[in-house]
Symmetry: C3
Subunit: 370 residues, 3 copies
């Protein structure tokens, strides 16, 4: 009843080029600080069960087959062929790829080729700053090169993304830092830094955000569930309220990624502020059989024109598949139930499904087909 012929994955990463064993595959299923507890496996998670549901059939196996059997078949096909079958089976027609994570991951061009889809690049601000720091000799040249790099990246990228929330927390002072403050912070950072050192200074994180805002490109902000080492209470999107208010009316859209378990807060901000959008996908990969409920919670306060689909997938093409299939099924189930109950008309349900699956992203990121 509710169909989504086209899916724009507005935030994901590439996939690993290397063959994976059972252990290395399992390690990609969750974001943990340490190995699985004795007597447990990361396959016994919502993500693990969702992978076992959706992926084996794309490689010619029965759903829910044992992990070892699935991995054997995956190796039999080879990582490239398995990746192609999986990506092409996901239903995703456009990938927006954050290229800012380490590891031997495919980039947008390969994602497009392997997935028989379009792909565009998202530039991660903190990595850009770290790369500029690696090659700049002085504070002055660092700051000049940084501004130039951000503006240069804006010419080709489809969006910027920031992990300021994971690096420092989202409770950042809302206004742009002053030039002297930025120079001081840059000096301290560069002086104490070795090549490749991570940017965690709050003044420089804010400076980066404001350079990005000035570029006019959509700016994605990581919120909610994050990477090992972070604290989720420091990534509650409500902490961004004052930054959001400070950036209102400047013409740059902000997209709150992930959100869960604070996704109702992200939806609230998308409802209050014209330039704020919220993500409705990455959390589904983590919550699996609960995807319809999590999606429905986002659909409470977020206006339907302000919700964007993503998988947030990283490393395994299985995660792109799972993100897309869970989203499609959840959206069909949630909207289909509302239509069946008479709460929504069928026409509205179909229209909102197309908006959330692809139309909103095409409009916000200026993609073809918009």
């Amino acid at each position: 009843m509710i169909e989504t012929p086209s899916l724009v994955d507005q935030y994901c990463h590439g996939v690993l080029r290397t063959e994976l064993g059972l252990g290395t595959f399992e390690a990609q299923l969750a974001h943990t600080e340490g190995p699985p507890a004795p007597g447990t496996t990361l396959f016994d998670t919502q993500t693990g069960f969702a992978v076992r549901r959706w992926c084996p059939p794309l490689l010619g196996l029965e759903p829910h087959c044992a992990p070892a059997r699935y991995l054997a078949r995956r190796r039999e096909l080879g990582v490239l062929e398995a990746g192609r079958r999986l990506l092409r089976g996901s239903g995703i027609t456009t990938y927006l790829v954050d290229t800012g994570l380490p590891g031997d991951l495919t980039g947008p061009t390969e994602m497009a080729c392997d997935g028989a889809a379009e792909a565009r690049e998202i530039v991660r601000l903190e990595l850009l700053a770290e790369q500029v720091a690696d090659t700049s000799g002085t504070v002055k040249s660092f700051l000049a090169n940084l501004a130039e790099s951000v503006h240069g990246a804006a010419a080709n990228a489809v969006a910027f993304t920031s992990v300021a929330g994971l690096r420092h927390g989202l409770a950042l002072a809302p206004e742009p830092p002053g030039p002297g403050e930025v120079r001081g912070a840059a000096g301290r950072w560069l002086a104490g830094r070795r090549v490749g050192g991570a940017l965690t200074d709050p003044v420089l994180l804010r400076h980066l955000l404001w350079i990005a805002v000035a570029s006019g490109l959509p700016l994605q902000l990581h919120a909610g569930l994050g990477e090992p080492g972070s604290r989720i209470d420091r990534t509650d999107p409500v902490l961004l309220s004052d930054f959001v208010r400070a950036t209102a009316g400047l013409g740059t859209d902000l997209i709150l990624l992930h959100g869960y378990p604070y996704h109702r807060h992200a939806a609230h901000l998308a409802g209050v502020f014209p330039h704020v959008y919220t993500d409705s996908g990455a959390a589904l990969v983590r919550t699996g059989a609960r995807a319809a409920t999590v999606l429905a919670e986002i659909l409470e306060l977020a206006p339907f024109g302000k919700i964007l689909f993503s998988t947030g997938a990283h490393g395994l093409p299985e995660l792109h598949v799972v993100g897309a299939r869970l989203f499609r099924e959840a959206l069909g189930r949630v909207l289909g139930t509302w239509v069946a109950d008479g709460a929504w008309s069928l026409e509205d349900g179909q229209r909102v499904a197309r908006m959330v699956a692809a139309g909103n992203a095409r409009r916000v990121y200026g993609l073809s087909g918009a």
Copy 2:
């Protein structure tokens, strides 16, 4: 199976007396900071869809008809006749009306007449203080007039309401401020204030709350979702814990309004403290097709004798309709399912429905029919 023949709307506002065009009507559907984002409309929200579901039939149209068609029919009938049909179709039998918002809104008498219902007034404390400030020459006369005004209002009003959470945040010091502290704050406020200036000083906000507590009239406290300019993390009702503890045993009931997305926290407080009640209606207008789930979340911890229905409607009689219909349907669905599952007896389900819809409010506010 579960019926609610009588509905006491324990918190709403009046309706606009002016004819509305598509844009002015749309602007009433949400609480935003700025116009809808390009390419979006506030009709594409849960509130917009709920209005299109429930209201057109009351004006002789098909459910889910296009907004322009609905507005044309509304203007054809005229704002007064359309308002009467809508309010009388809501099923609300008593309106408790907060008269403290600006704009050309109908008051309790007109609401009663237009809605063929009873109506009583709720007095907003901050507006009362601002009106007293407008007409008092000195700190001493301001404080004396303020106390007199609150006690005078208590003679006719059915409750007081406070937006201290939206003005300052709910993390207020729990005890009453001392007389010297109050005089100092009043002096500073009056000295810097122009006529109509808003009260945001935390000492005076607390002083007002304690005068209201002393009156013995039920005191409604805004929590959770609020007005543009506020931050929802500052309106989490759990921030009121110490104030709630400080007012225990004084004989004055506290009613936590709205609550969402912290409605589980409000329900918790209603479960722990004998004098605390929680609201189960206004959030439903914002969450539309999700109303049954939001209501069910309130029904987790809140004792069934401590939950009160409201619409929180403001400006559009459509919002009174939507608030009432969503509540009625959600309550019937949630309790009906529990009865069908055998978790509750039918008799208990029917009894709880009557309590939440009207009985609890009649008891707390001392309304006839209690």
Copy 3:
């Protein structure tokens, strides 16, 4: 379809030995600060309704019979016989009993006998410290006796439990306090203390936690809903993030009890940290007909090998019954639906049910049958 033949209640208390009247029974149904509000009863809560659903049939009455009738039948059988019928009807095969609450409650031996089950003791750290303080003359002897008592208790107990979150809040400094700091805090506490005085000093609470961690026994931490006098925002398990990180790799497991309304946060920590587990039962007793949804929310992020069942029951054997029945029904419903939808295989559903109901607890606590 989904069965749980064995239930290990990983956290509960004993039951009262005295006959109860309607009022004294009612008072055990909720954790309130004060008597029920005028015109309300604590029987009109999810817990009250769940007791009326599940318990009367175990005493030969119809489900949902009136409280007075149920209490009359209970007295007719006598507290001992009624308790036996209830506990034996709960389906619980092992009770882990926190013996650290005051009142005339049965201990593990009686629980085992009355319930025809196994039972083991959980030692409450704060009570242990208070008992040591009652009998120690000096700071030096107190600290020596404390360490000895904790290590002695570890020989027989199955776990330690801490209410540091209810006494002070979970935002404790994560590292162990230094010896001088501990001596200073102990000196101040002992000097100002009367026999039986409660331990609330944050330095001593941390010291206790770290002694317990050193023992290697599983350590249960109260989080979320607590006792009268606490504030739930101070018991959000996310506040434990840094303590959790500081105890990683030491070989001691941490179990987050209760969690609700922050149970998604507890599940998140169980997903990120190998040594963290989360509780899936006590919240169900409080939320009754909503148990399936609350359980499903825990099942979003928590790996299935990291979830443990408990009732959290205290005083009334009815609460052990309700905790067990609600859990069993909720688990069957949630997992059964996922199996019916094809999201999970039947075999996986049955396996996860056995893990959450008993297998995980047997492994973590080293119980027979593991």
